[in-house]
Amino acid sequence: MALTIVSQIFPREMIPAVLPLIEDKLQHSKEIIRRKAVQALYKFYLIAPNQVQHIHDKFRKALCDRDAGVMAASLHIYLQMIKESSSGYKDLTGSFVAILKQVVGGKLPIDFNYHSVPAPWLQIQLLRILRLLGKDDPRTSELMYEVLDESLRRAEINHNITYAILSECVQTIYTIYPNSELLEKAAKCIGKFVLSPKINLKYLGLKALTYVIHQDPNLALQHQMTIIECLDHPDPIVKRETLELLYRITNGQNVIVIVQKMLDYLKESKEEYAIINLVGKIAELAEKYAPNNEWFIQTMNAVFSVGGDLVHTDIPNNFLRLLAEGFDDGKEDDKLRVYAVKSYLALLEEDDALYPQKFLQVMSWVLGEYSSLVTDVDPEVILTKLHSLLRKTFVTSETKVWIMATVTKIASRTSCSKAVDEIIQEFSNSLDTCMRQYAFELKNLCKDKELMKNLLPFDASCSDMVVDASLSFLDGFVAEGLGRGAAPYKPHHQRQEEKLSQEKALNFEPYRLSFASSVSSSGITGRQSPTGLSVGSDTSVNSAETGHKETSTLKLEGVRKLWGKEGYLPKKESKEGKEKEPQTASCSTLSTGQVGDPPALRFDQVASISEEDKEKQQLASTLFIGLGSNAGVSLMGKAETATQKFKRRSKINEIQHSEEVSDFRNSAAADFGPLLDTRPINMEDSEGSLHTRLRKASLSSSDIVEDNLAFEMPQSLRKSGLEERLSENRLSQSSLFADSNIEIFQPSPSAQCESASKTPLIPSLPEELEELTHSEIVQLCQSDALALYLCKVWTDDSLLLTVFVSNKTTAVLNAVNLVFEEAEHFQILESPSYQFPAIEAESVERCQKYVWMDKICTQGVLSGSVNYQLEMETRLDFSVTLSLMDFIRPMQMTTEDFGKLWLSLSNDVKQNIKMSSSQDTLSAALNTLQQKLKLHIVDVIGNEGILACQLLPSVPCLLHCRTHSRMLALWFRSPCSALPDSLLYQCQKVMEES
């Protein structure tokens, strides 16, 4: 019962509290309890995937549960996980297929049958999983063909449930890598659906048809008549689905008919969502396939007038852009524009017609820009019309602003107009400040026609204007101000934060002292500035707002600026003989310089400060990384460790000399056997093959270091001895690793031997990288001609992936191209590809890529490929697994800084974890975290400790630890919400391991 409740609506914060209880229930003897526990975990996974990361192997156990119900429940979790990333679960395809085969074959208990169909829900779930797995993957898809065929065959009883399975099957068949035989059968199924007299099936058939239409348009042709019938179906839902189908098959020839049908439907329908959706589609079709101008304009008019204000803002924007930018043919453009203007004028003729606001806005813009193209209409007439529109009550003030802008534009092209004068008079006293400002501007502009023409050139809406957004021309002013002792400007949120932290600082004991004083001083200076500046901002906000609106559609930013009250006056001086673009910038310099416009000053300061901040951050990130070397965690390799390293190395050499006397190779090989046996964990891991190779390596290496230091010496000796024969470089590298005690990767000995005997071309890192901490060089993939190796180098400011390409042939390889695919989570600095001009025979080339983590994940895959030309074009795919820890670096800071930062961060995550017996003291726990996770210990006070690290390039994460009664309370804070969760997971992992 409690489990049922848990799985209903459950707050995210409480999950850690109940999670262990539910985990226990997974082992319960009753299957119903186990099943419910799995369901509850599924719910947790949906709410907070990060928090259940560590029990993925338990899901696997649930999948193999002897009770089919539990297994079915676990499928929900898998479906969700596979939806997120299908690549990680390809290996499970086989088992899913096997399960489905059993289900279809009726091997389940009779309880699961539903109307004599075996476990339909289970089948559908499995089909969906297979669909996700097999998408675009021929190899995985191949595994499924047989079982899909089987389920199609079995589902032949006439009952809803079999139809459900069939439709799912069909979808799966069309999604996975195609197989002609299955496609044919699926097509037959769809046909059956569409022709079925049952309306539900017909609907589904149409849906399926819509789904497959892009793969197989012929299928639609076969069912033409049915589709036509469905178009006139009394049920609007069926009709809509049919339209959806038609939308997919639209082309240049049938567009008119289809759009007409859609418009008809649009007029009937009342539902908001449907209208928005449909309007978008019609507009898209009209833009794509419009056969002629008249039709296009008419259709768009219909769309605007029927869709009303529900239409998405993109549609008018796109429409206007199309008009403004035009097509290739200038004449055609003009025709289109003329037609548009004429049609709008005709529409405006009708006095009491109510048009939606957006439509009016579009109309007014078009009239403003292009009305002069129509020579036979007097601008005066247009102006009068606009004037009458302005008086109407249903027109919102936003639209009025649009219309005013139009009036201004038209006025600039006419000599003297009564209507304009009237408008000016009427709106100069308007209550609406915006309108009043416009009227005022218009009045002033009318006084100087020359300037007006300059400002509003004809048909310039497409020429982009450069606006100096950072207002750099004000830098001098700011510098001067600062020089006179003015306080630097702080953005609003910063001020607020400071205020907040100041208040909090009083009851935040350990970090208080030096921090409070620094804040109080900055807080005061921060508060002074805004009061003085906020006065003038009111009007500017207004104009900024309207200006903003325009930017997206009209690209008139520059013009807008000049219209500002202060803006256009000084421009008279510099009016002549200047291009527009520089004018924009220079004149606003003048104006702000002269008038000392406070809002402008403010913007500028924002800009300069934020720039400063950025610089500082960068500086900090570059400065502090390398210094995080308090107690042995050193990325750079400190002097201490270096000396130690040398000692050890000399020893190695000694022993190795003595060993070389005997038949070294044999004895080494013989010795690896027992070594392996002493570490069963190691073996288990590789057997399970759940983890990637990398992870395995790190696991085993940490085991080695932690548990049997005694073993480590001889092993590293032997190994390095073996390697000594192969290459001198390798030796120093691996022993260097053994000593630096941060991350030691020791490949399984057998793999080492293998690679040693097979490939003579083993790459090595260049010296400058050798000094940095780096991983073992692992082979990514190989073909007859090439072998790819990878080495991760953890530099201070990024992860450096070094890819070695070794040419195994005896010929020179030309134009070898290495490309990394774009990955969701990672960002490759500079370009993702690299071209090797030539790789000499039997030699190794390398390329280096700096990688950052863009989106946080505990582990992600970066895939790529190598192309090379050897007889024929060959492509070699590879993938690299990167974990979060590759991107975590210690962050050096003082306790005070920590306190300050701590208060400014908002995302926090708390969790208690049990401490194992081997490290029940705080210091032991901290050391583990420091060594394994590269966290920097900032300070330890009593039973509390604070640590800091950062995710590259510069996302800090702070950790506060406290021990009490064998529990370790972890408290993370970071500006990034996902980072604490992921780090917590890592912490749990390392604490469990140790």
């Binding site: 209903q8 099943r35 599924y42 119900g69 429940a73 559908i124 809803n160 449930i161 799912e168 539900n200």
Partner: protein
């Protein structure tokens, strides 16, 4: 599945189950609008709806509408069968179920639904095992209740 609703032909809500946290006000709005849409449909129309960003599957049994909202990826037909199975379960438990049964024993109807669907996914497809679970729960409830009545009697005595 997002939510499941049971309402009568007169537009009275009989049972509601939400599988996604939703604010009360939104719930009321959704229910009201959805009821209007569904009730307006004629009996011969198809039982699937695309409504807002959801798919709605409904079926009418006598005067009761059973209505499920599912996400875009889900299978409509199987949801229809889910409704049917739920009705079968109710039928079996109450013995030819009618609207009154659900009105007066709404907590039982909720129990059955909870055993059948959990967290928006179908949990147990077997009629027998669901009913067994319900029976057990009923037994438990009775056991709970009986000692209390004894105590009460003693108190009275």
């Amino acid at each position: 599945m997002r939510f499941m609703l049971l309402f009568s032909r007169q537009g009275k809500l009989r049972l509601q189950k939400w599988f996604l946290a939703t604010a009360d006000r939104d719930k009321k709005k959704l229910v009201r609008e959805l009821m209007q849409v569904v009730l307006a449909r004629k009996p011969k129309m198809c039982s699937f709806l695309e409504w807002r960003d959801l798919k709605v599957v409904y079926k009418r049994y006598a005067s009761l509408y059973f209505c499920c909202a599912i996400e875009g990826q889900d299978n409509e037909l199987i949801t229809l069968e889910l409704i049917h199975r739920y009705v079968e379960l109710l039928d079996k438990y109450f013995g030819s179920v009618c609207e009154l049964d659900i009105i007066f024993n709404f907590e039982k109807a909720y129990f059955i639904l909870d055993e059948f669907v959990m967290g928006g996914e179908i949990q147990d497809t077997s009629k027998k095992s669901v009913l067994k679970a319900i029976e057990q729960a009923d037994l438990l409830q009775e056991e709970d209740e009986s000692p209390r009545s004894v105590l009460e009697e003693m108190g009275l005595a």
